[in-house]
Symmetry: C2
Subunit: 480 residues, 2 copies
């Protein structure tokens, strides 16, 4: 029932609105969201974005814990915990909710709720009429420390996550490929382990494991509350104090994550499967996240737009429209990660071409970018498009809460998020050229070289370990 | 100074002597070593092989702990501990030895000593005149629980292991390749982490880490003492009681090792480097160890011999001599591992051939083996050769202690080791065919598919991350 952000890192472009610009003139930069931020005494950060166009509100709580915090051999714990958070809570202060009733209550209020898990965070949210905010806040506060799922619910929910894995990964060659590519790209780092977990480890997860994990990480001082909609900051603050404010802060461990070693050889992963219709490749590079290097991350966002943003982008124009080497080509980057982020380039050869042709053409484009940089008009157009693309996010109900949550929970500051349109406009052509050179250079691989996956059609024959049905690939861009 | 068994698993053929056989006649199987085995009250197993041809003795202590017991982020701990075991010990019961003096004392007795570390075990040994056995036993007992290296020794020895890694791995493209291949073949399993450690993790190792590791695992009930040479069982037992017997047993944790997930795609690793003169490939398969499946392991030993044992082996005859596809070809297997063992097949193309030709020819040989099995005469010749090859080990001073130690410490019983010549002779042609089919089938990969590494020559250019000198490859077969 509950779905997870397994590859949200690849998916999420930081959606932020732009402004009508007074070109050239110096002006005080305007904030995107005008969010209000508070800190409760127990360490819970509370961020509010007012939007009074409709009497609705989105209430999200983000925990600074994800799959990357799991112990070795216990993969899937964070995501399993997310599921268990709907399976029964007991609290003197906030009341009891029977297993399965959390979402029912939200629906009975006319709202909807969900949750998702990534390597770096776990988030829960409800969208309800604004006069119901206190109700859902009370419920959410109640499960911050009050989870007590009955044993049979734990067992049955374990079956649910196992089935989720079978459906989404084990029956899907693309998802299998993604897992192996991540394992190859993130050797000795938790990002190499899938968020959903390895099947054989998921089978062994117990409530004792989950309870220990929950007690360690689910604390007010390890969470961020984001509320957007038809409320005011002071109202939300008062409600948060009345609910979450009752929960004492606790000692939360530091995040300690193993670090990948440098490598010199290039890894590749190849899978031939009967459900694959046309060959494709995807190549992943490790690059800085926004937390690790804000300037590099901004430059990579611009690079992504120039190289892959729509019909006028370099890769599309040169490889698909003019070169006719590829029938499709894409590049993706998101800086929302605690540790290294990734750039993925993927392509499908046009008729009469093979994978190697597309890969060579991509490398030539990268070489051109590295040698010649980007033109001023290209840069300006890209930034304008990015700012324009982003403007819509502010107008949706949950968009601002999502954007702010993703940013804050992965280590950006509120100012990084608020002033993103200004910052993205400050990225220079040199910076774009420089990140290409340092991280995407085909002739001088980075300390951790890229990995490449090849998916190939297979005529008849057995498909080892996969249900021959195959299945659609929703994993890569999935969010809930 | 102290060297390590980094890839001993690949190297070690269990060396056991054969006997003049009364073909066909039923006979009581004879033991190879006629070893005597005792158990001290504190749980230390004591194994003695008498050999009175010269007044010398080899004294080895094997600890059931290796790199695979290290915590995440602390790779290299087991090997660092091995180094520190020479850096100063204090003991009321056994006396003090100053840093660096352990080996000096052994040398002053006319003996020699050394130590080695693998994923599964750490071993220390001395070869001395037999009347010095008590001396070295007392010294070794003293460092089972009495290590107290001064802080400056810990710091300087950390530099030694870092230099060891730089010299042997970071300057050697073949060793780098081996590391990446193991990482690809052992995803989510500690065997994917090098015994010597990742450089950035080795740099962070402290005495606190090492001490905790040492206190957890270096206990008499987690060790096996093997003594071979000019001594009797009762003499060794009495000395062992007098020395090691003073050390109380302690609670030792169970070995808990993460398990690799099944995969469907095939991984490969490619490295072009200026120090490489000719292209080569190596392909690694995960197969049962002797501890996991004794019969499969025996069959794999026979398969190895039939396919790769010398000039009459199938691979050599068909690919090198007759087919002229390869200029060299090899296959290696050792069952001495706690978890999965490996089969590695490696080859170099003959002039006029490319790597793909050799790989295809290897696959054809495997298909032939799977389809047609092995001939009775081939099987008999192979077993006879294996028994004959092994006979020499018994006659060396340290051979028996090594063979017994490797076997026992990786979970074989003394009987498995003693009756190996009988057991290997019982392997049937069907068994050989069957293990080929289950583990080495090119048309139906196992649950964990093989990984392949390609080393390629590189004309000029930069060698990323490697000293351009390259270096000899001693890693794969290194033992001390």
């Amino acid at each position: 029932m509950r779905l997870s952000v397994l590859f949200a890192l690849f998916l999420l472009l930081l959606p932020c609105p732009s402004f009508a610009k007074d070109t050239g003139a110096v002006q005080t930069p305007e904030k995107v969201f005008n969010a209000q931020s508070y800190m409760l005494d127990n360490g819970l950060q509370v961020v509010v974005v007012e939007n009074h166009r409709a009497p609705v509100v989105t209430h999200m709580i983000w925990y600074r814990v994800g799959a990357a915090e799991e112990q070795p051999g216990k993969s899937g714990m964070a995501h399993f915990m997310e599921h268990l958070m709907f399976k029964g809570q007991t609290s003197e202060a906030f009341g009891d909710i029977a297993p399965g009733d959390f979402s029912k209550i939200v629906r009975s209020l006319g709202g909807k709720d969900n949750a998702f898990t990534s390597q770096d965070y776990t988030a829960y949210y409800q969208s309800v009429a604004s006069d119901q905010l206190e109700t859902v806040m009370t419920m959410e506060a109640g499960r911050m420390r009050g989870m007590s799922p009955p044993a049979d619910e734990v067992v049955s929910e374990n079956k649910v996550i196992l089935e989720e894995r079978r459906q989404r990964t084990d029956n899907d060659p693309r998802a299998q490929m993604d897992e192996q590519l991540n394992a190859a790209l993130f050797v000795n780092h938790p990002y190499g382990i899938p968020v959903i977990g390895w099947l054989h480890e998921m089978e062994g997860l117990t409530w004792d494991d989950e309870k220990a994990f929950y007690d360690l990480w689910y604390e007010p001082n390890n969470a961020i509350l984001v509320v957007s909609g038809d409320v005011t900051g002071p109202e939300v603050l008062a409600l948060a104090q009345k609910t979450y404010g009752k929960i004492p802060s606790a000692k939360v461990p530091e995040r300690i994550r193993t670090v990948s070693p440098p490598f010199v050889a290039q890894m590749s992963v190849t899978l031939a499967h009967s459900s694959i219709r046309e060959p494709s490749f995807q190549r992943g590079y490790r690059v800085p996240s926004a937390r690790q290097n804000k300037q590099d991350s901004l430059a990579l966002e611009v690079l992504e737009e120039i190289m892959g943003g729509g019909a006028t982008s370099r890769l599309y124009k040169d490889l698909v429209v003019e070169g006719k080497v590829a029938s499709s080509i894409s590049i993706s980057y998101s800086g929302n990660a605690w540790d290294d982020a990734t750039v993925w380039i993927a392509g499908v050869p046009a008729e009469g071409n093979v994978l190697q042709d597309v890969e060579a053409a991509v490398d030539d484009e990268l070489r051109k970018l590295i040698a010649e940089g980007v033109r001023a008009d290209e840069l300006k157009d890209a930034v304008t498009r990015m700012q324009a693309d982003a403007i819509y996010a502010r107008d949706s109900l949950s968009g601002p809460a999502m954007t702010i949550g993703y940013g804050l929970i992965t280590g950006s500051t509120l100012d990084d998020i608020e002033y993103w349109p200004r910052d993205i406009e400050m990225v220079s052509a040199d910076q774009v050229q420089d990140v290409a050179k340092r991280f995407l250079n085909p002739d001088a691989p980075a300390k951790i070289p890229p990995v490449t996956g090849y998916l190939l059609p297979k005529e008849g024959g057995d498909d080892q370990g996969l249900d021959a049905m195959g299945g659609a690939s929703e994993m890569q861009g999935e969010i809930r």
